[in-house]
């Protein structure tokens, strides 16, 4: 694992009391999870016991202790989304991807999470895929979106393979 980005984050941290939270936020963004190595390194650099760093990483929902997938699917489970069909959306996504909330698919492609409200209640139910908001979702629409992503990923993989082949030939 490349820890250079982690060192950069630690180098640029402020002196505030909440600096450790900021570090964890940045590490989560950079690596998509808080690894064991990262916890140990943060503990050394900030002079905080390993158990304390682990406790923070474990307590706050923003942090994940396992790697997240290449695509993050967030199904909003706020009240407005709930009464307008969010549970069915979640079911559809989980059934299609054969995974559980908070877990990542075996191929590392998708992580499905729920969030307790995104504050886009007027558009309920809402699903966020890789940072883009999709409003007034139905199980059918979400299924089509997932199929599009899979299709694009396959295209990208094919292109990668072609590039590798082209390079090999050259």
């Amino acid at each position: 694992m490349d820890l250079s980005r982690l060192e950069e984050i630690l180098d640029s941290k402020g002196s505030e009391t909440f600096a450790i939270m900021e570090v964890l936020q940045d590490v989560q963004e950079a690596y998509r999870y808080i690894s064991e190595e990262a916890i140990v390194r943060i503990s050394e650099r900030l002079d905080v016991p390993v158990i304390e760093v682990f406790r923070l990483a474990n307590f706050y929902k923003a942090f994940s202790l396992t790697p997240r997938g290449r695509h993050l699917i967030t199904v909003c489970a706020g009240t407005a989304c709930h009464v307008q069909g969010a549970p069915r959306l979640l079911d559809t996504v989980l059934a299609l991807l054969n995974t559980k909330p908070g877990e990542t698919t075996a191929d590392g492609a998708f992580t499905v999470e729920t969030v307790n409200c995104l504050g886009a209640c007027a558009l309920a139910p809402v699903v966020v895929i890789d940072g883009k908001y999709y409003d007034h979702m139905t199980p059918g629409k979400v299924r089509a979106l997932l199929e599009d992503i899979r299709f694009e990923d396959e295209l990208a993989e094919d292109e990668d393979e072609e590039e590798v082949e082209a390079e090999a030939n050259a």
Binding site: G119, C121, G140
Partner: protein, 617 residues
């Protein structure tokens, strides 16, 4: 930008900005809140800027992207001033026509106008839309005039004049008195008098004092704080500077939910602009007062909306509440006197100082002053953010502003106050919006979520939903909350799955009482509210689930079955193709059937069926 080193220089800048804005003949306003962004407002905004340039109108037409206007369901919104002509659901393809017809010739394009779902009439001007006319938009109304990343827009609207007034002609003591007299109460849910909080902090002894803005808006169904912080961040910053001046703080923090990325960015940009103008930092406006603010991203824990948990999080600790026998106004962040107010509370401060306590106190009811913003969502025609004077009835909000039920259904309840609040039935809809009135009815104002439910919602399911939420979000410190809420959830789950018994209803009430008296913080104390209020007002639904094993709304999955009506089914195969669980069998020649064992009652098949042949039993 030149620094503002005196109050006179602020006023000079205001005149300069007004002069620049007055050059424009037309102002095009586009909503760019999170919801409108989700609806695709950014391509519309880009198209508008391009088209205005292409037509050579950039000298006379000002295009402004603002924060949320509240009418999220109709986005992307475009408003053209003067005249306030409003267009809804605008696409980039509509832009050339808008520029050619409305901006150039002043003609209204009827097909883009809003149609009121109640009267079915087309409305051309923004101020004639019933959704807006019945509101009192003191805070939210400003969003429409301000580009959140342009401090000059805020200054043009009279921004920072309250700060100038406080620093120039008032003592800290006078500021506290003014807020006390206004009757402003905390908008985050508790309704604690803001002025009293400030006075206690001011009188407490400590080495340093802090002010904090609680923007960790975690109640599902709420987004007014996000919209204020995204759309008008300077109003919150100005409120915080005034508060810091009043209590004697030098540092302030805005603790904002990480799930609100746009709010995090806009608050940060606004702080940097204010610092550049010396409205934050050392020697503010040349008056010798020092104060600065930092934005802190929350870690995504609901309990951090509680003041002591939030402060623990700010200290880089796990966000667990502590006993409040010593209040945070005496010993808060780092053990020092701290004032923590909610976003909406801070946003009210500048206008109180500007217009006076009497002006503020003249609005609202005997016991609750001013206005309150609500997030009106759920099964109602017009959803979005609304702001009404305290004392407005729930009925006016739901039927007059919200336009009543959707799809010809019947409204049966409104859930107010988020997970700490309760469900009120239609018989309570004449209650006024007032901290005490809602509390006495078994719900609470909370931070202002209002989810309307019709007969397609099951109240047992709603109670179960909130319990699952609270069990997940309980920090685990107090046993009654950690275990008790889980036990409540088990019982309600039993009932929703047909295993309930009548004596469980007494147990629910008993256990609820224990949890509410024996938990430390408000999360636990109010956790039973969703159960108690649904038991109080919708007991018949619980009885129906227990005695008849029936969920009338067709929501509780264990109590329903999906069946295919063979007289309606045309064997098109769509349901088979769409079922993620492969639970439907049949072919063109044999009739279709659903396997109850495999079926999860997700009803995806029913959505796919054009013949409406899949029925809930």
């Amino acid at each position: 930008m030149p620094e503002l080193d005196s109050i006179a220089s602020l006023e000079a800048r205001r005149e300069e900005v007004a002069f620049t804005l007055a050059r424009y003949r037309t102002v095009v306003t586009m909503c760019g809140g999170t919801a409108c962004q989700a609806c695709g407002c950014q391509p519309v905004a880009r198209a508008m800027t391009r088209e205005v340039m292409a037509q050579g109108l950039e000298e006379t037409v000002y295009v402004r992207t603002t924060g949320c206007h509240g009418f999220c369901e109709q986005g992307p919104l475009v408003i053209i001033d003067p005249g306030g002509i409003v267009y809804v659901h605008v696409t980039p393809e509509d832009v050339p026509e808008i520029v050619a017809q409305t901006i150039r010739k002043g003609k209204v394009i009827e097909r883009l106008s809003y149609t009121d779902p109640v009267s079915d009439k087309t409305v051309q001007a923004e101020d004639e839309i019933p959704f807006y006319t019945r509101q009192k938009r003191l805070l939210l109304g400003e969003n429409r005039h301000i580009a959140p990343r342009d401090i000059d827009d805020y200054i043009a609207r009279g921004g920072y004049s309250a700060l100038a007034k406080a620093l120039d002609s008032m003592t800290p003591e006078a500021v506290v008195e003014e807020i006390e007299r206004s009757g402003l109460q905390g908008r985050g849910g508790g309704g604690y008098p803001t002025g009293k909080k400030w006075r206690q902090c001011r009188n407490a002894s400590g080495d340093a004092r802090y002010v904090i803005c609680n923007a960790d808006e975690g109640d599902p169904g709420d987004y007014m704080d996000r919209s204020l912080l995204e759309g008008n961040p300077h109003s919150i910053i100005e409120g915080m500077i005034i508060g810091a001046f009043a209590v004697g703080a030098r540092h302030g923090y805005i603790y904002v939910r990480k799930e609100y990325p746009l709010a995090v960015v806009n608050a940060g940009v606004a702080i940097r602009q204010a610092q550049a103008l010396r409205l934050l930092g050392e020697d503010i406006l040349g008056t010798g007062f020092d104060f600065d603010i930092q934005v802190v991203r929350g870690g995504g824990a609901f309990v951090c909306g509680e003041s002591t948990a939030l402060m623990a999080s700010l200290e880089g600790k796990v966000g667990e509440p502590r006993p409040k026998d010593i209040h945070t106004v005496e010993r808060g962040y780092l053990g020092q006197p701290t004032v923590l107010n909610n976003v909406e509370t801070w946003a009210n401060v500048p206008s109180i100082i500007r217009h006076g306590a009497d002006w503020f106190a003249s609005q609202g009811t005997e016991r609750s002053k001013g206005t309150k913003i609500f997030a009106l969502t759920g099964q109602v025609k017009n959803t979005g953010l609304i702001e009404v004077e305290m004392g407005t009835t729930l009925r006016e909000i739901i039927y007059d502003i919200g336009g009543g039920p959707k799809n010809g259904r019947e409204i049966k309840a409104v859930q107010t106050g988020g997970p700490s609040g309760g469900c009120l039935p239609t018989s309570q809809f004449d209650l006024p919006v007032d901290f005490d009135a809602l509390y006495e009815a078994g719900s609470m104002m909370g931070s202002g979520g209002m989810v309307v439910m019709d007969d397609s919602s099951c109240m047992v399911d709603v109670a179960k939903y909130f319990l699952a939420f609270l069990q997940d979000e309980s920090c685990g410190k107090c046993t009654p909350c950690r275990l008790g809420v889980g036990r409540l959830l088990e019982i309600v789950t039993d009932i929703s799955e047909g295993r309930g018994s009548l004596d469980q209803l007494d147990l629910l009430e008993d256990l609820s009482w224990t949890i509410s008296v024996a938990s430390l913080c408000a999360l636990g104390k109010t956790a039973p509210n969703p159960v108690l209020s649904t038991l109080k007002y919708f007991r018949d639904e619980y009885l129906d689930h227990i005695e008849n094993k029936r969920c009338a709304a067709g929501v509780c999955r264990a109590l329903i079955r999906l069946v295919i009506d063979s007289t309606l089914c045309d064997r098109c195969g769509k349901c088979i193709a769409n079922c993620p669980h492969k639970a439907i069998t049949g072919s063109r020649d044999t009739s279709y059937a659903i396997d109850d064992e495999l079926c999860t009652r997700c009803r995806i098949c029913a959505d796919a069926c054009e013949q409406h042949a899949i029925l809930v039993r």
